[in-house]
């Protein structure tokens, strides 16, 4: 050790005042300042005003138009604590802007959306899922078609997160359903630049673009839930993302058998104006538990239902061909077009509460394939 090292070091935070000065009586000065060298004697940190930040973010086109929770470092860190990744890890590059979806950017948008920190891993998997080539986010984000991203959660995690799979599962009223769907949209707006008129050219937009997330009502389903159908174990947790239109109701109170009920569903699905009519693709069918029971009582398996819907959801080709791209001859049979390419395209889930309604949601057509990914529930041990 050299002598120099022994020199008195002044702390960088020190104001330089001597303790004697600070303690000395200063009756003549007439103030109660501790130290005159600094502009304050004590500093308190407060959260920014949510209304002000919301307004500021809205002006900067960083929101969906609704108020947001200010994404402070402290809040974001709480989300990062639930991630197995490092904050700067890039989980996806989102078109059209090709923005890097880092774990931290996802967390920031999740905070804004009103998520709980526990939702972070779900959002991370969703981002990874929509980044898959076959999902075609470039097309889904930019299209004039009102396609949104529907997220379906399967497995025990849905309950753990407090998700709604029963009455009102498509909203409103549940924090997890609402804020996860919203966070995904905010990620698309801020990371992918899917802003109306800039990176999102949907002619009218869609209410489904605010949020579109629910859990499958596995307990009340007579069939294998979606994730099991797709090869996962019952106690696995998964997210499934589908490019889908806002849901459309199928009201059927009177059918007593499977065929009658399914006919109502098929008739509702086979419409000329959807993308499936000229570029056949996936169709999301959200069957209510009561409808499911009606079908099940005749012993129809999930495959039977999917087969039936595929075979019977068709419309005159001449009507289907009025869509965007030319209807490919290969989808036409005897002057009719099947709106799904195969029974597999019928994505069948059970959700909702009591009541005799089913929901259908047309996909983006052959331009996007749904993606299911498992959730890794393990939490990173952070000190």
């Amino acid at each position: 050790m050299t002598k120099n090292d022994d020199k008195l070091k002044v702390n960088a935070n020190s104001c330089g005042c001597l303790i004697d000065d600070l303690l000395a009586d200063k009756p003549d000065k007439g103030d109660d300042r501790l130290c005159s060298a600094r502009d304050s004697d004590m500093e308190f940190f407060v959260d920014p005003d949510a209304e002000k930040v919301s307004h500021d973010f809205y002006q900067r086109r960083l929101t969906d138009g609704l108020p947001i929770i200010p994404p402070t470092r402290e809040r974001v860190n709480r989300f990062l604590a639930f991630s197995v990744y490092e904050a700067e890890d890039v989980l996806g590059i989102l078109p059209p802007k090709m923005g890097q979806a880092t774990v931290e950017k996802i967390a920031i948008n999740a905070v804004m959306a009103g998520c709980l920190p526990q939702f972070q891993p779900v959002l991370e998997q969703v981002i990874k899922a929509i980044s898959q080539e076959k999902f075609n986010l470039a097309g889904v984000n930019a299209t004039t078609h009102p396609v949104s991203i529907c997220t379906i959660i399967n497995g025990p995690l849905a309950d753990e997160l407090g998700m709604n799979s029963a009455t009102g599962c498509l909203g409103p009223g549940n924090m997890a359903n609402a804020s996860i769907g919203r966070a995904i949209r905010l990620c698309l707006i801020n990371i992918a630049s899917a802003l109306p008129g800039i990176g999102d050219h949907a002619t009218h937009g869609s209410p489904a673009k605010y949020t579109y997330c629910f859990a499958e009502n596995e307990k009340q389903s007579p069939w294998d839930p979606l994730h099991v159908e797709r090869g996962y174990k019952e106690d696995d947790n998964t997210v499934t993302v589908l490019a889908a239109e806002a849901p459309h109701n199928v009201n059927d109170h009177r059918s007593q058998g499977a065929e009658d009920l399914l006919d109502t569903i098929c008739h509702t699905a086979a419409t000329a104006g959807c993308n499936n009519s000229h570029v056949p693709g996936e169709l999301l069918v959200i069957v209510s538990p009561e409808h499911a029971a009606t079908i099940d009582q005749e012993g129809w398996s999930k495959k039977d239902v999917q087969n039936y819907i595929h075979k019977n959801s068709r419309l005159p080709a001449v009507l289907g061909d009025r869509g965007g791209r030319k209807l490919d001859e290969k989808w036409i049979s005897q002057g009719e077009v099947y709106i799904t390419r195969s029974p597999r395209d019928v994505t069948l889930v059970v959700a909702g509460g009591p009541g005799r309604h089913t929901m259908i949601s047309h996909g983006f057509g052959s331009g996007s394939e749904s993606v299911t990914m498992t959730l890794n529930p393990e939490r990173r041990d952070k000190s």
């Binding site: 501790l34 923005g99 880092t102 299209t143 331009g367 996007s368």
Partner: protein
């Protein structure tokens, strides 16, 4: 005592973009064969027909590709077999995206491209090309809208951009 209240800072939710640049393949001095990449949007075939007819005695290779989704590898390979590829039509969000992104795929294969987009979607097409590192992607603008018009009207609109195509290609 003087107490200072400091508002915590908020973090920026906007995703960053990584800079990367792709080389634009120069247009050929002369060419014998041109790929006409038709995404089957209404009018795309008419526009490509009008444009190709202005190119004189050259071989035309028609390739069809999906509108709102990427061309298959085989379609790209086919389109890349010519000296030049002209793609049409970007007149909505997803089809513009995939005209531009497929054009970039072709450029990466070494095939120079010219993409036809409607003037309404051309700014988006340029932004998108820029985000993918190819700011100078050649985009020919045709007057929006195209879909829903009669064939004659589309031919008329296509006719108006023939001069620009010939100028781009330096065809006298």
């Amino acid at each position: 005592m003087r107490v200072k209240l400091t508002e915590r800072e908020v973090l920026n939710p906007v995703g960053e973009v990584q800079e990367k640049k792709i080389k634009l393949i120069p247009l050929p001095y002369d060419f014998d064969k041109v790929s006409l990449v038709d995404n089957t949007k209404p009018g795309a075939d008419i526009i490509l027909k009008v444009l190709s007819e202005s190119l004189g005695n050259r071989e035309h290779l028609w390739v069809q590709k999906p509108a709102g989704a990427p061309a298959t590898k085989q379609q790209i390979q086919e389109a890349a077999s010519s000296d030049l590829a002209i793609l049409a039509l970007g007149d909505c969000g997803s089809c513009t995206s995939w005209v531009v992104l497929d054009a970039i795929r072709l450029e990466k294969c070494g095939t120079p491209t010219i993409s036809v987009c409607s003037d309404h979607f051309a700014p988006f097409a340029r932004e998108l090309a820029d985000s993918h590192g190819l700011k100078s992607l050649r985009i020919l603008e045709v007057e929006h809208p195209i879909a829903g018009l009669s064939d004659e009207k589309i031919e008329e609109k296509a006719g108006k951009i023939v001069g620009n195509l010939l100028y781009l290609l330096q065809i006298p």
